[in-house]
Assembly symmetry: C2
DNA sequence: CAGTTGCTGTGATTTCTGTCACATTGTGAG
DNA sequence: CTCACAATGTGACAGAAATCACAGCAACTG
């Protein structure tokens, strides 16, 4: 595994420590990686794939917060790991995904010894906090049409493709909306020449 | 100032360092402490009073995220301070407020030297992240009536009073709603015997 | 006390979104 | 090809909330 390329800032000693202690795990598309209320015992580094971090409410509704990709770490797993607390979110693999699980016992040590790790943790907090702020902005101030555009752009940005392979139902779930609403809004976007609609796929133009 | 009582976990050496370097600042009700886009040069510890952390959008709407009280620290100022970045939020004193401003230059040093500081920072991140999660839950899954109840309870919890001195307009602003909607919902709550309404004041029962 | 100002109550209307019902279309299995 | 099923399109309706219009009421000012 050449996961070190994803974290070029880490010093060799830190990489050695991680390699010696971390466990590699693999998930397939749809696998649930972390569940609301679950006890956390490791910090997660993403090597490959794409993890969806979302919130679930008791009535079956769900709400996408953000994605983690290669080189990202789960901020929540870091916080919870350090304090040995439970998580309040769901994490699910969107595609084939490989992660490194670092036992929480190492966290304190790594924070103290390695400046690059400490900075990486801070950077991770900052990024996730910002993403969460963007999410709050969207649901607080924007209507569904704008939220949908934001969603599609973010999705395209991640995969850097012009093609988004999602059904309307999946999008509706992520936005905690309903399929009909999404279908209608997408049709309007098509009429405005922003997208082209295909089966199970949306093309940005 | 006996601010040390608010942070009993800090070791004497850390307290000494803070006392030597931090600047005390005072704000009156309504003073803006931090503005969107403003450059951050200090980490803020709250000694007394109450600070409202909220988001503003370009069309004049605002949206309350959470409050900071005595013993709290501003997570955003910590993150931004460490990375010398700008903030994306507004902070405003809700009442007479005293804070300690710790220059960012000290942050790295304190994180390395003092385990209690490091743990305090982590604890702060965790708390704010959780609060933000609760906010997301509310706007994503709840209607205005439930959000209003949550808002009132949180407000009462903070001040540990049964009396909430706010106009309907202020509440509407915090929830990014309109006065009429809030008035109507409060009336309904009064009919359900959850509150009593007075001028500029709401009484929880 | 009269006048002004700000807070609250309430109806009418509109927009956005969610829900139900059902039609249509694409795709793969047999 | 035909059937079955999943994805999509669309109309009708319902409910939440924003907006507009205006009335009543409390509190302060001079």
């Amino acid at each position: 595994m050449d996961w070190k390329k994803l974290f070029p800032q880490f010093e060799p000693e830190l990489i050695g420590l991680i390699e010696k202690n971390a466990v590699e795990r693999v998930f397939n598309a749809g696998d649930v990686i972390m569940r609301t209320g679950q006890y956390i015992k490791s910090t997660v580094l993403v090597m490959e794939g794409r993890i969806k971090i979302y919130r679930e409410n008791n009535e079956g509704g769900e709400f996408l917060m953000y994605y983690l990709g290669p080189g990202d770490a789960c901020a929540i797993s870091m916080i919870c790991a350090i304090q040995s607390q439970t998580s309040e979110i769901m994490a699910q693999a969107e595609e084939y995904t490989e992660v490194l699980m670092i036992p929480i016992q190492l966290m304190d040590d790594m924070m103290n010894k390695f400046k690059t790790w400490y900075q990486f943790v801070i950077q991770t907090y900052r990024s996730r906090f910002d993403e969460l702020l963007a999410v709050v902005d969207n649901i607080a101030f924007r209507n569904m049409d704008e939220r949908l555009e934001f969603y599609l752009k973010r999705h395209a940005g991640r995969t850097s493709k012009k093609l988004i392979e999602l059904s309307h139902q999946q999008i509706a779930d992520d936005l905690n909306s309903s399929r009909e609403v999404i279908s209608r809004l997408l049709k309007k976007m098509e009429q405005r020449n922003l997208v082209k609609l295909h089966r199970n796929m949306i093309e940005l133009v």
